[in-house]
Amino acid sequence: MGRDPAQIPTSFGKELRACLRCSLVKTYNQFTDSGCENCPFFNMDQDSDRVLDCTTPNFSGVIASMDPTGSWAARWQRIGKFVPGCYALSVTGVLPEEMAAICEYNNVRYVPRS
């Protein structure tokens, strides 16, 4: 495996949230504890309020991306360059402007996934 995989959700219920930028799916606690593997610049693990800003429970579908580079589905979902892990198929909502600014600041382009 090329890269360290992201955390795998520890539950399958309501506490799952998806990152608004990369659509990575983890539980709320996982986000607060270790942030988002693809979007470390959000520093969610430092500030749990960020988790609320940057992730949403409004997503649908889950794709477990095991081999992002080799997977057509991952490429199609625009998660081909992200770490292996569980992602949402579609995420509703957009990043708050402030967070979008952080993306920009870190030279990461933000394309809403909804």
Binding site: M1, D4, P5, Q7, I8, P9, T10, S11, F12, K14, L16, Y28, Q30, D33, S34, G35, N38, P40, F41, N43, D45, Q46, L52, P57, N58, F59, S60, G61, V62, I63, A64, S65, M66, D67, G70, S71, W72, A73, A74, R75, W76, Q77, R78, G80, K81, P84, G85, C86, L89, S90, T92, G93, Y105, N106, N107, V108, R109, Y110, V111, S114
Partner: protein, 1072 residues
């Protein structure tokens, strides 16, 4: 191998004897799990999941909860498991390792610590980042650390829709396989596959699957992406929730469909309009006050459906329960109503007023376990129980939601948010729009192009001209100006058109073309259009302006048709009451074609008669009667702006206008009219029942048949003409009795006998022919008398109902047209037929004297001359007479062969007429003037006068004009005696009443001279250019933009005004 053990554990227990303890533990767990209850199972599953879940998570736990012994144990064991596997992979001393717990523990802890260190190092980057206050350093660091990512991601992020197409799967790509899994466990299955993949990867036996996809909307299936089916089978082996049997290949073409998930549009936000999905408030509109996305709950604001009385009862009864729930179920849900404090006090419901910390500490009223504010109910609900998808509150709902006490839109958020949930595709090219959101707010422009996401707008602003800007549709709002003519394309008023009279934010008020009422519609639902439609005019079997029965005693006229309901003007004359009635609430459609009512002067009013309201709230209104029901009239006054121009009045409040209906002079004039009307009616009846054609022979010198005759020939319906007359019974048990006719059909007559207080039914043929002859000797003379009994006023009605009229009328309008000119009927008859009176006058001596001397000799024409309003109609005869005089031969010959000129339907009435009158031939010219072949312009004109008393068109003064209406450029049909009709264009109208006409439809042919009598206007068609030949506007030109029955809608050239003029005053202009 290690994995095999792992999977076999779950399937075959016998196989694992030599397995390590912890594995056995696992096995036990699995067994336990199978036996346990559902909830238990889920807990276990989590527990089990955590065993093989990412070590990172566990490390966290280890770090944070070192002191928590039980948990630690679990973790250790889990780690040991992992360790075991690793050990299996690395060396073969599995038994040694697994043999002792202590050892394993140590090993495990060591492993964890080892791994942890690595992880810590890995993750320690981030905390350090934060400590670095220097942003530049941070940036630098990030770029170093994630530079590669960034670049890639950036590239990836640029994927546009087009490039997305380039990503379409090809044969080289891995394939998608569909496997079955336990319904409801799709996500779990995919996540477990991920976990398994990582575990196996760590063991150095990676699964060769690329991804696993669980769709929310597809229950019981999971997609696995892999190159080969065997890999998929390998991957799912041992997974409990995945069926091992079925692995189906998804065709390449369908692969994208799998992933094109419909966007979950649960976009519930503050101020979103939602609908409640279940419970008492099911379907009710609510507004989101607050959303907690984490807890998936929302506070919504609703109009309470609380039955306060029940609540009060409940509260006073205290905690008496039991059976109440059953009660609740059977009860209809309370109507939505705002809570009124006064009411609460009256019902002695105790109300707590408290601050709610959840809502910015605002004060709320609490009672009955509910929370209220300003009369609204505030309710906490799960996000799942409300639906925001496609919620488009109707105007009515919004208005209701707006508390009556709210002064003008405190809830103003309502409209824009309502607009936010508008449907896609509302903009079309050319729409004028205004930007309502973003930097370019208030920029105006026109839509240039619309695609999936964006609307491209060409700004109106000069400086920006030439550029096209893209906007999201939510940033735009259609822009309309007052005075724009628009069409409603959605909502309750769909299909209606009208002019904008007011523009508000997000909504406009339009003045409907049909109903002349104000409609409030959302701008999103309208498009600019020059089209004029009546909107919807049909709902089920009901059409606009139908008379419908609402309940046993209520009738109404449909004045507007909406999407699923109608607005019905109720038959309550005292006040205009409009109800919105659903289709199912309408009992049936009423046909009142043969009904009539009486006006103030006891004149009988039937449909299409023009009446003037002289009493009641609508005093002064006038118009044709559209419907009659139990003495109540529905009048259509086009100057009345409400309810589509419909008024409901009592018959007794009205006076019938025009024609013989005016009873100012109740004397012989009426009788005279009757006589002639009756006389001419006879032939008409033959149209209806031609089989009776021999009758006139039997009838003898027919004209005298009068109303009796006419009445008998009536079809199978009530013959009100006879009602009120006095009849004598000729034969049968009541022979010799005399009485008043109270009811009559074409077979039977009910007579109230004079000598006995009794009403008897006798066959019509048992009646004495000479009804009322005891008063008069001559049959014809009876008509003079009949008005006394009311018959006079009724008789004239017959013609108006007779289908004959149109047939007579039609030729005048347009020889080829079908007989549909309803509007013209009644007045026309009076006007049209009265000329006969005049024309007949010279014939009187020769043919009619014998039959009815009294009528003709004494009370003939002269008597009418002094008549006041009626006078008008008596002048009308003159042109008729003149027409006859002017073209004695031509008309005559034409009339002699009616069938040739106007077809059989015309011929039939004509013949009996001729037969019935001894003086047939001399009469003919009179008839002829109504034939298409005759100089028909003249009779038509007086008809006009009678038709619409309100129109300025023609009065008595029109006579001269009528005679010399010819104007240059008008297209006419020239009918010279003995020649074929030709079309020509008037070049010049001579003062002597003749016209110079160039033949040919555009005047290219020979010049001829013709008298007006030989000319006939060519009826203009829609969009024809016209010249007005009579009335105040004579000589004005315009364009005919519409035809409404007998009225033409004309756009004047000079003033650009729209005028409604009688068609007969419009001459078609030659095309240049």
């Amino acid at each position: 191998m290690g994995y095999k053990k792992y999977s076999d554990d779950e399937e075959e227990n016998d196989d694992v004897e030599e397995e390590a303890e912890d594995v056995d533990d696992e096995e036990e767990e699995v067994e336990e799990e199978d036996e346990e209850e559902e909830e238990e199972r889920s807990r276990k599953r989590k527990y089990k999941g955590s065993q093989f879940i990412d070590d990172v998570a566990e490390e966290d736990d280890d770090e944070d909860e070192e002191e928590e012994a039980p948990r630690k144990r679990r973790h250790r064991r889990a780690s040991a498991f992992i360790d075991d596997e690793v050990a299996v992979a690395s060396d073969d001393e599995e038994e040694e390792i697994e043999g002792e717990d202590d050892f394993i523990q140590d090993e495990g802890v060591e492993m964890i610590e080892e791994e942890d260190r690595g992880r810590k190092h890995h993750r320690s980057m981030l905390p350090e980042d934060d400590q670095q206050e220097n942003v530049e350093d941070l940036e630098k660091f990030i770029q170093q650390r994630y530079g590669r990512h960034e670049y890639e991601e950036f590239e990836e992020a640029e994927t546009t829709d087009v490039e997305q197409q380039a990503l379409l799967p090809s044969v080289k790509d891995p394939k998608l396989w569909m496997v079955k899994c336990l319904p409801g466990h799709e996500r779990e299955a995919s996540i477990c596959l991920m976990q398994k993949f990582m575990d196996m990867d760590m063991q150095g036996k990676p699964l060769l699957i690329k991804s696993a996809i669980a769709l929310d909307h597809l229950k019981g299936y999971l997609y696995v992406e892999s190159e080969k089916e065997a890999y998929v089978r390998e991957a799912i082996r041992g997974m409990r929730m995945i069926s091992q049997r079925e692995v189906k290949l998804v065709p390449i073409k369908e692969m994208t469909d799998v992933l094109s998930v419909e966007k979950k549009s649960v976009d519930i936000d503050q101020d979103t309009w939602v609908r409640v999905k279940n419970g008492v408030y099911k379907g009710d509109l609510a507004k989101v006050v607050d959303v907690d996305h984490v807890r998936q709950r929302a506070t919504i604001k609703l109009i309470p459906r609380v039955d306060l009385q029940v609540l009060a009862l409940k509260m006073n009864e205290g905690l008496q329960k039991g059976g109440k729930d059953a009660d609740m179920k059977n009860k209809p849900r309370p109507a939505p109503r705002f809570i009124n404090k006064q009411e609460l006090q009256d019902l002695k419901i105790s109300v707590d007023t408290k601050r709610d910390p959840n809502h910015a500490g605002e004060y709320f009223e609490f009672f009955g376990g509910m929370q209220f504010k300003d009369g609204y109910l505030y309710k906490g609900v799960s996000l799942k129980s409300i639906d925001s998808n496609g919620v488009v509150p109707s105007f009515d709902e919004l208005q209701k939601f707006q508390k009556p006490t709210d002064e003008g839109g405190t809830d103003s958020m309502g409209l824009p948010t309502a607009l936010a949930s508008k449907r896609r595709g509302q903009f079309v090219k050319g729409d004028a729009v205004i930007v309502v959101q973003g930097d370019l707010k208030n920029l105006m422009g026109y839509v240039e192009k619309v695609d999936e996401d964006d609307v491209y707008v060409r700004p109106k602003d000069k400086e920006l001209k030439g550029s096209t800007l893209a906007f999201k549709d939510r940033q735009l709002c259609k822009f309309f100006k007052t005075g724009d003519h628009v069409k409603v394309v959605a909502g309750t008023h769909e299909g209606a058109t009208g002019m904008i009279v007011r523009v508000d934010l997000g909504s406009v008020v339009i003045l409907s073309d049909t109903t002349k009422e104000d409609l409030k519609v959302f701008t999103a639902n309208i498009v600019e259009s020059s089209e004029v439609t009546s909107g919807l005019n049909k709902l089920g079997d009901y059409e606009l302006h139908d008379l419908v029965l609402l309940d046993q005693s209520t009738v109404g006229v449909i004045v507007r048709v909406e999407k699923d309901s109608c607005q019905v003007l109720k038959g309550t004359p005292d006040r205009a009451e409009v109800l919105t009635v659903k289709l199912r609430d309408m009992r049936k459609k009423l046909f009142d074609r043969n009904t009539n009512a009486q006006d103030r002067d006891s004149n009988v009013i039937s449909l299409k008669d023009i009446v003037r309201v002289v009493e009641g709230p609508f005093k002064g209104r006038e118009g044709p009667v559209e419907h009659i029901n139990r003495g109540i009239l529905f009048i259509h006054d086009r100057h009345h702006l409400e309810n589509g121009g419909f008024l409901c009045v009592r018959g007794m409040w009205c006076v019938a206008l025009g024609g013989s209906r005016n009873r100012l002079d109740r004397g012989g004039r009426q009788a005279h009219n009757n006589n002639f009307n009756g006389g001419f009616q006879a032939p008409m009846n033959y149209l209806q029942s031609p089989r009776r054609s021999p009758h006139p022979f039997h009838q003898g010198p027919g004209g005298h048949g009068g109303s009796t005759f006419g009445g008998r020939q009536m079809g199978r319906r009530r013959d009100h003409g006879l009602v009120g007359t006095t009849a004598k019974i000729r034969t049968g048990p009541f022979k010799g009795y005399r009485g008043r006719v109270v009811d009559a059909t074409d077979h039977d007559v009910r007579i109230e006998l004079e000598s006995q207080m009794k009403v008897v039914t006798v066959r019509r043929d048992q009646l004495s022919d000479a009804v009322g002859s005891q008063y008069h000797n001559g049959g014809g003379a009876s008509y003079r008398e009949s008005p006394r009994y009311g018959a006079g006023s009724e008789t004239p009605l017959h013609p108006s109902r007779t289908p004959m009229h149109p047939a007579f009328m039609t030729p005048m309008r347009d020889p080829s047209a079908t007989p549909i000119h309803d509007g013209m009927r009644t007045p026309m008859r009076d006007r049209a037929w009265n000329p006969h009176t005049a024309m007949n006058t010279p014939l009187r001596d020769s043919s009619w004297d014998d039959a009815n001397p009294s009528t003709w000799g004494n009370s003939g024409t002269p008597q009418y001359q002094p008549g006041t309003p009626g006078g008008r109609q008596y002048e009308a005869p003159t042109p008729g007479g003149r027409g006859w005089a002017n073209t004695p031969t031509g008309s005559f010959s034409e009339a002699g062969t009616p069938s040739e000129s106007s077809g059989p339907s015309y011929g039939i009435p004509a013949s009996p007429y001729l037969i019935g009158t001894p003086g047939g031939p001399p009469m003919t010219p009179g008839v002829a003037s109504y034939l298409p072949s005759t100089p028909g312009g003249q009779p038509m004109t007086p008809g006009t006068g009678g038709l619409d008393p309100t129109s300025p068109a023609l009065g008595m003064g029109g006579l001269e004009i009528e005679n010399k209406w010819g104007l240059p450029e008008i297209v006419v049909t020239v009918r010279k005696a003995g020649e074929e009709a030709q079309v020509g264009v008037i070049q010049e109208a001579m003062p002597d009443g003749t016209c110079r006409i160039a033949l040919g439809s555009s005047g290219e042919g020979d010049m001829i001279i013709a008298t007006h009598a030989e000319l006939e206007l060519v009826v203009p068609k829609k969009t024809d250019r016209i010249k007005i030949v009579s009335g105040e506007l004579r000589r004005s030109t315009g364009k005919l933009i519409g035809i409404d029955g007998a009225d033409g809608i004309v756009k004047m050239d000079d003033t650009l005004d729209i005028k409604i003029l009688d068609m007969s005053s419009l001459g078609k202009m030659a095309a240049n």
